[in-house]
């Protein structure tokens, strides 16, 4: 279907298909995408600069707020990095608790994603069902940590709250319910014709392109590449908790759906194992405020892919340099490749296929130190705000 001349269609920064602002300028010829230019930075908050101005303890909370859905991944990565700089190791019980929280977060994030993906292809009923079931995980979080997101479980030297024996049966009950529902959704995703028509063969990313463009997480694993930081570069208690790395060969959006659904089931098994085999002991060790000079690279498998932090300390209580690279940024080149040659109608589902989290991705603009607040950055907004003074 070609109409001759091309039209430039902007997607964002405000658009119903995007849950967070990001700008993609598409050049379309009729219904086919000919070119795509990404433009990010709308949620850029100056986090990397802010890290340098705060003490290591204060930075835990800053790291948590880089993202709402993968907040625990950021704090795990951060506390691991600082622990390595200090030369301490978190106690065994703390490491198991970190695994449990991280896997619960993975379930919550993937469930959110399945709902969003269903919404993008117009299947609102599945969206409503999945999000209703996701509430089970959020209730478990509230029971364990007191909050539905931003659980603040990690600290330098261990975890702040324990998972008591009384909580374990409730967690297991919640997980059993989830497992039943997830098996049903896995079945729906594989057999429902209208979903398959929109997701199969769409947004194809060949394995060679996935590796060349440094894709991450489920996007990479859905192209058949077996890379998972939990298995390749184990951290926390992942060397002791058994789990399978899920890969699929389809290279399209429906493979990504399958990878995420099956990962959720794997997470449930991993949590069950961790709960049964949790060692006794303390949950944290005390650490000094000043961190000796050094540098460290810390990696974690966030729900969206490999999360990498680079920390450099200079002997004081504040870091010299802290670098965060979250998975969504790594998937953008692969995303652009997937979109070329596809249909306009497929843009939202392909975009959703990499599970974009633009808040994680942009990270440097302004932070009001007094209020510890960050905001979206448009020049007009900034002008308006300061003109009031």
């Amino acid at each position: 279907m070609s109409y001759g001349s091309t039209i430039k269609v902007p997607l964002g920064p405000q658009h119903p298909a995007l849950k967070e602002p990001g700008n993609f300028l598409f050049e379309v010829d009729g219904e086919t995408v000919v070119d795509v230019k990404p433009r990010i930075g709308y949620n850029h908050r100056g986090v990397e600069k802010a890290f340098e101005l705060r003490t290591y303890i204060q930075n835990i909370y800053l790291a948590e707020r880089i993202c709402g859905i993968c907040s625990d991944a950021h704090t795990t990565c951060y506390t691991q990095a600082i622990e390595e700089l200090l030369g301490v190791e978190a106690p065994p019980r703390a490491r198991y608790i970190r695994v449990i929280i991280a896997e619960l977060e993975r379930i919550q994030s993937h469930a959110l994603w399945v709902g969003i993906a269903a919404h993008e292809i117009g299947f609102d009923t599945l969206f409503m069902y999945v999000w209703r079931d996701r509430e089970t995980v959020l209730d478990l979080f509230e029971m364990i940590s007191g909050n539905r997101i931003h659980y603040a479980m990690n600290t330098i030297g261990g975890v702040r709250r324990d998972i008591h024996a009384a909580m374990v049966p409730k967690i297991k009950k919640g997980l059993d319910f989830l497992e039943k529902r997830l098996k049903y959704y896995l079945d729906v995703v594989q057999t429902e014709q209208t979903i398959l028509k929109r997701a199969a063969g769409v947004g194809v990313l060949k394995p060679k392109d996935a590796v060349d463009l440094c894709a991450l997480g489920p996007t990479l694993r859905a192209s058949g590449i077996n890379n998972d930081v939990r298995a390749d570069d184990p951290y926390a208690a992942y060397d002791e908790v058994p789990f399978n790395v899920i890969t699929h060969d389809g290279c399209d959006v429906s493979s990504r759906m399958l990878v995420r659904c099956e990962e959720m089931l794997e997470s449930i098994k991993a949590i069950g194992y961790a709960l049964d085999h949790m060692p006794e002991g303390v949950i944290r060790v005390r650490v000094p405020m000043k961190v000796p000079k050094g540098e460290v690279v810390s990696r974690v498998e966030a729900p969206r892919g490999e999360l990498i932090h680079y920390a450099k300390s200079n002997g004081t209580t504040k870091p010299e340099r802290y670098k965060v690279r979250s998975p969504t940024l790594g998937n953008i080149p692969a995303l652009c490749k997937m979109l070329l040659g596809g249909y306009v109608a497929d843009i939202p589902i392909v975009l959703a296929g990499i599970d974009p989290c633009f808040s994680c991705m942009d990270r440097m603009a302004f932070v009001d130190v007094k209020k510890n607040k960050g905001w979206n950055w448009t020049m007009q907004q900034l002008r308006r705000k300061y003109a009031k003074k």
Binding site: H44, E48, R325
Partner: protein
Amino acid sequence: MEKENEIVKKLKNFLKENLVRTTVPKERRIFVYIKKDALKDAVKYLVKDLEFKHLSTITGVDLGGKIEVIYHMAYKGSIVLSIRLTVSEKNPSVPTITDLIPGAVLYEREVHDLFGVNFEGHPDLSPLVLPEGWPQGVYPLRKEHKLEHLREMTSKK
């Protein structure tokens, strides 16, 4: 530690005097310091012969007068090799590696935006995270720019 030591030995043999320093602080982590001119050869060797196909990210660090650029590359997802070089602040310029690793496009743009490092041969160095209208020559992550100074500057616009 075997594999890590093996990789270090092979790199030493290949780069000879261009390899200034290496450290292996713990398993699966290698830090290597090379001279700027050897960057492209080193990256090519790493990608083609040593199978370090995955680039995790590129970090910039302001060392005061000098800017350090660190490339974090991963071997089959597990061993992370951080290969670094320094450039002077006055004229920071590094050859691009996008012809070897296409996925490096956005990382180089980010370091260019925030530190002012120029990547020669990059297909498109337009701003990635900074907004339109951001003043030229102001690179926010450099130590010279304090937070109040940056805020003052944008409020004047």
